[in-house]
Each structure stands twice: as C-alpha cells, then as structure tokens.
Amino acid sequence: MNKLYQILYIFKTLLTNIKENYSYFLLTTTTIILTIYMLGLFWLLFENIHSVIDRDHPQKNMSALIKSDVAADAIEKAIATVRKLDEVEEVRSVSKDRAREEFVVHTPQFKKLLRGLSINPFPASLDIVLAKPLERKALKELSRQIKNVGIFEEVMYEGVFLAKYMALIRTIEYVGFLFIAILFIAVIFVVSNTIKLTLYKRKNEIEIMYLVGASRPFIKIPLYIEGCIQSILGALVAIGFLFASYALIIMRLKSIFLFDLFHTSFSFLSFHKIVFLFFLALVIGITSTTLSVNRFLQISR
C-alpha cells in the first residue's frame, strides 16, 4: 500500500515538474524530435539507395556508344577488336538511323516528338552480347577495356551509374554515419545540460527533499520518467514527420517518373528499425538524465 502512494506521489511530482518547466520540456523534446528525424531520414535514404545498390543482377548486354565523327573503317576495326575479347560472344553494329527506329518501336509515344526534330539525336553504337552474365565489377572492368579501343564515347550497361559512383556513395555513407554519431553525442550533451538547468531551478527544493529524508531513487525516478517521456514523445513525433516526408518524396518521385529509373520500389523503415529509433531516443533521454542528475546530485549534496 505504501508503495502505491509513493508511486502516485512520484507521478504527481512528475506532472508538476513538467507543468512548471514546460519550456524546458518542449526544448528537450524538440531536440530529440530533430535528432531522430534526421537520423531516420538519413537511414531511409540509404536504406532505399542500398536496395538499388545491393541488387547486382549479372548482365549479359552492353552497349558501346560511338563518338559522332568516326569513320566507317575505324568502326569495323573496333568491332573486330571487341569481338576478340574473351568475354564477348557477339557484336552487332547499330547505326544512328537504326537506333532511332528502335527507340520509336519501343516507345511509340515519342514518335511525333522525334519527327519534329531535324537532326537525329541518337548516336551509333555497338550492341554487345557477352558469353556469360557478368556482375557489376566485371562489367566495369570490361567496359574500361572496351572504352580503351578509342572510338567510344561511353559504354552503357544496367547499373553503370552505380558501378561508377559506388565509391562515392560509400564515402558519403561513411561521412553521414560519422556525422550522425557526432550529432548524437552533441545532442546528449545539449539535452543533459538542458536537464541540468531545470535541476538548478529546483536545486533548493531537491536539497530540502534530501534533508528531510527523501531517498535518492525517490528524487531520481520522476526525472528518469520525464526523460523517458520526452524520448518516446520525441521519437513518436519524429517518426510521424518521417513518414509524412517519405510519402511526400515518393509522390514527387512518382510525378516526375523517376520512380522506375532504378526498377525498384521504395519502402519505409521496417518495424524493427522503427523500434530501434525509439531505442535510440531512449538512449538520448536516459543517458542525458543520468549525466545531468549524477553530476548535479554530486554538487548539491
């Protein structure tokens, strides 16, 4: 029975604390919201980029775009060179006109548009069929060899963009995670100092509580609960914002038909990851509370 009344008292204290220091409460919660939101956004972004990157379907086809003013015999020579490569099974030359025709066949909706054009924007190219499907890394190496032949502007295959910028994506990713980690520590610092400010406001009260026989847990528990409430509230709002942002971005992407560029569907963070974001928010709340409370209680004894 005693415990029940103590718990009731703790909750009453908690509410009073929040009411009396609601600006600090909001400040802390907002900080947590922003942190979790940024973290989630970053995660969402890389999650989806990865769903593209990690799908490494071996490819059997490449297309080497020929520079605009290459003589016919040079093209013939190049075809012969490419054909001799071990990985290559078959090479077919595609003229500028043929490229245009094929495009029209595949996408008839652009027929009119192309007819209005006085020049043919399509380059001549070689369609290359490989002996066996190759993964992205091998494709990149092969495309380099083909490009070395000299007459080619660009060697295309599915995933060429990713193959080229993989290292950059990885670097951005590492920098991003480093940034998030620093942000995380900074936030704990900021939040713990905010909590310390509220404690200083209540310094006198806390001291008196001790002097008349309140135990440490009795004083600490409401502070910890407050930290947890801020964390959970922060995470909840952040994830709400995150979902809204996600929906907006997807809508935008769909409307500018970029959606199918990577032949993939986007997805929101999984349930586990959302739980993990809550966990991170709690880490911020509890660590900050611990830091501030312990340092403060050492001072005020």
Binding site: M1, N2, K3, L4, Y5, Q6, L8, Y9, N204, E205, E207, I208, M209, Y210, L211, V212, G213, A214, S215, R216, F218
Partner: protein
C-alpha cells in the same frame, strides 16, 4: 541515545567550528544547546543527521556509528529525526500543505491520513488558516512555524530544533516550547539550539554551553 566522542568539525578554509566535543544525550531527554552566535550550535545539530560529516571523532546514534551509514541508509536516519532548520529550508513557491506534508509523502502514507495529520499539527501551531498559502507569502514567524510543523508532523523519535523561536514573540515561543515539552513527555528526545536565555531559564532543562566550538559546561 546519542553519544559524541572527541568530535570536531573543521570547515573548508580551516574554519574550526567544533573541537573535541564529548557528549551524551539519552533517549527521551530534553536538552538545550546554548552559546553565542558562531559558537557552533548549528554545526553540532547538522552533524547529528549527517547533513555534515565530522572531521574527527565518532557520533553514535542508538549504538550505530553514523559515519558508517551507507548513503542509502541516510534517508532512513533523517526520517527518524525531525529537524527545524534555522533558515527554515522551506520550498518557497509551494503551499504550506505541500511543505508540511512532504515528510509524510516520502513515507508513502495515504493521502487522507496525510491531510488529517497536517491539519492536526497546523492547528496546534495556529496555522490552519494558512494551509493553502504559498510559503513566500507568509511572515517570518509563520514560516518558522511551518518549519516546526514539518519537523513534527511524522512524530519522529527525535527532534532537533535550531533557534525555533527566533522569529516569534514570547507568547508564541511559549506555545512552541509547551508543544515540545508535551512531545518530550510522551518520549521524544528533544535538542534545541538557542541563544535565548529567557527560554532556557523558563524551562529548566539540561544545558550544553558552547563557546568557540568547545563545551564550557555540562
């Protein structure tokens, strides 16, 4: 029973507040601690509920050396001791009720029981019409009585009162000391620090006289 053996207290900056105090206060005794300002009365009281640690010597409370209490045991000690602080130590922006009830809420007592007890003690100290008033709107003497009420409300076996009548007139002082005497008759140990000679003469109790941190008679 409280026993002090060769207790001294030196504050930071080499301020010697108490030197070589030897003293015994039996359970159920009523003792005055007397002495000029700065003699060390407050310091002596603060040592008894571990608000301050002594620099030398030993303080034994009911057979237990309080220096050896674990930090988690200190709150328990303090709940056994009702302290009237010289500077009251009230939570200024809270009501009289909240301040007085605090020691009871810490113990997890039912709220109607808390109300009853707070009401009772405030009535004894002629304060019941101020129960919902914020402390910072009370006079000095009223605040002092709130501080006394808080110390007495949970019927502790020992009361330490530091100048409990410093801010009230003679009639109220007598009222407060009569209350102390009443509690003392029912077995409560009472230690009062005061420099008020009139009170000391009025009540004829044991007097411990301090001068510059030393006991000069007993």
């Amino acid at each position: 029973m409280i026993q002090l053996y060769h207790v001294s207290k030196t504050y930071e900056g080499n301020v010697k507040a108490l030197s070589d105090i030897n003293l015994t206060v039996n359970t159920g005794e009523f003792v005055f601690i007397n002495g000029a300002s700065g003699a060390g009365k407050t310091t002596l009281l603060r040592l008894l509920f571990k608000a301050e640690e002594c620099s030398n010597g030993q303080i034994i409370l009911d057979g237990k050396n309080i220096a050896k209490l674990k930090e988690s045991e200190v709150p328990h000690l303090r709940r056994q001791v009702g302290v009237v602080f010289q500077d009251f130590k009230l939570i200024q922006d809270k009501s009289v009720f909240v301040n007085v009830a605090f020691t009871l809420t810490v113990l997890g007592i039912k709220s109607f029981e808390i109300k009853r007890r707070v009401w009772e003690i405030l009535k004894k100290l002629s304060l019941y019409d101020k129960v919902d008033e914020k402390v910072n709107r009370l006079s000095g003497g009223e605040q002092q009585r709130v501080a006394i009420a808080r110390a007495l409300v949970n019927n502790p076996p020992m009361i330490l009162a530091d100048e409990p009548t410093g801010n009230v007139d003679w009639d109220l002082s007598l009222g407060i000391f009569n209350l102390f005497e009443e509690l003392n008759k029912s077995g409560t140990t009472i230690i009062v620090a005061t420099h008020d000679q009139h009170i000391i003469e009025q009540y004829k109790k044991k007097v411990i006289k301090l001068s510059r941190g030393r006991i000069v008679n007993e």
